[in-house]
């Protein structure tokens, strides 16, 4: 078991924002869905660093990303 990032899509879609997707150290991992206007995480590629949490919570105060056990819903 290991931690991965999970985006609360309903909450994220309220903001006109793509910031976290620009700062993930991994390419092709923290993606942006332009149709639903939300970022999302490819769990298999996420290394669980929580840099995206820093961006969304500490920098932007939007609190849309949490770290969860991989495979966990919610």
């Amino acid at each position: 078991m290991y931690y991965v990032a999970k985006v609360n899509s309903d909450q994220c879609a309220d903001y006109k924002c793509t910031t976290c997707t620009l700062y993930c150290p991994e390419a092709n991992t923290l993606m942006f869905d332009t149709v639903n206007n939300t970022s999302w995480v490819d769990e298999d590629r996420c290394k669980g660093c929580a840099l995206c949490v820093y961006v969304c919570t500490d920098m932007l105060d939007r609190n849309c990303i949490t770290m969860v056990m991989s495979g966990q819903e919610g």
Binding site: T21, P25, K47, L51
Partner: protein, 305 residues
């Protein structure tokens, strides 16, 4: 490579690996920076594939940014050496050359010259991307001599101020006093003045920076490449922390990079008059092209209504 080699015949597509097809369909090849550049990472298939660099590594982040900033990935070759960065650089869809430790700038010299002979009417971009140990310690003489000879390619130093890949030896770029696993008493001499050495050796464009501002970092990478095409050797020293050897919690890696911007990696950009001319010309051309693309798009949208 060229765009022609990358693009598969339509009927073969379904036999090719999914990641390859995604790169062809949604990758940055043949596209502009507005369509697939640093500003919209996360919305196209990026060149860097999965790699084994550590969780939260800022060096991995900067490598991601380098590849998203390339003016012409299909006509680019990267060269590197032992060290953490090559673990990701070698996993990008851009040809990568890996030689003996520290010889990346020597190999790049030959390659740049060979390209100019073999493809006189084509612009091939050659970029060496190596660690501080590879660039300024073990590869020092080859780095310096490529600059002294005025070789026209770009050198990017991934400066994490330590030998990260081999478990924490101090490097010439570690700051004075740095206590590292294999420098337990603290390093006892100053960090090497890399950009000053580069300028003295003949680099026509040098930058020292901590890449926290995407737009700015991308602009610098592109400037270094454009100037190397026409004028001479260019050099970027970028802070790319090692969270393992400097014990930085991963969620604080970005904040640390911002702190370094005010400390050892204060922004410094140097260019010769000739380099400045190239930068001003190319950036004006890019701006005009982007403007006319936007106008054409707007006109097409208006027509569709």
């Amino acid at each position: 490579m060229s765009l022609k080699y990358i693009t598969p015949a339509e009927r073969f597509k379904r036999y090719l690996p999914k990641d390859y097809v995604e790169l062809v369909d949604f990758g940055p090849f043949g596209k502009t920076q507005d369509e697939a550049g640093p500003g919209n990472m996360g919305q196209f298939k990026e060149l860097v594939e999965e790699h084994p660099m550590c969780s939260g590594c800022w060096m991995a982040y900067y490598i991601r940014l380098i590849f998203a900033s390339l003016p012409c990935p299909e006509e680019t070759v990267t060269l590197g050496t032992a060290g953490c960065g090559r673990l990701a650089i070698s996993q990008a869809a851009v040809p990568f050359i890996y030689g003996n430790y520290g010889d990346q700038n020597a190999m790049a010299s030959g390659l740049t010259r060979a390209f100019r002979l073999r493809f006189p009417d084509k612009q091939k971009d050659v970029i060496t991307i190596a660690g501080d140990g590879g660039t300024m310690d073990i590869g020092f003489s080859m780095t310096m001599h490529s600059w002294i000879r005025g070789e026209k390619f770009t050198t990017i130093m991934l400066d994490n101020e330590v030998y990260g890949n081999t478990g924490g030896q101090s490097s010439g770029m570690s700051p004075k006093g740095a206590v590292l696993k294999m420098a337990p008493m603290g390093k006892d001499f100053e960090k090497m003045p890399a950009t000053k050495l580069a300028q003295a050796a003949g680099c026509v464009y040098t930058v020292r920076m901590s890449p926290t501002n995407i737009k700015k970092a991308a602009k610098i990478i592109r400037r270094a490449i454009f100037v190397a095409r026409e004028v001479g050797p260019t050099f970027i020293q970028a802070y790319t922390s090692c969270n393992i050897e400097y014990s930085i919690p991963t969620e604080e890696v970005f904040q640390d990079a911002k702190d370094q911007e005010k400390d050892r990696f204060q922004f410094e950009e140097y260019m010769t008059d000739e380099a400045k001319e190239v930068i001003e010309r190319v950036e004006a051309e890019e701006k005009a092209a982007s403007k006319s693309r936007k106008a054409a798009k707007k006109a097409a949208a208006a027509e569709a209504v």
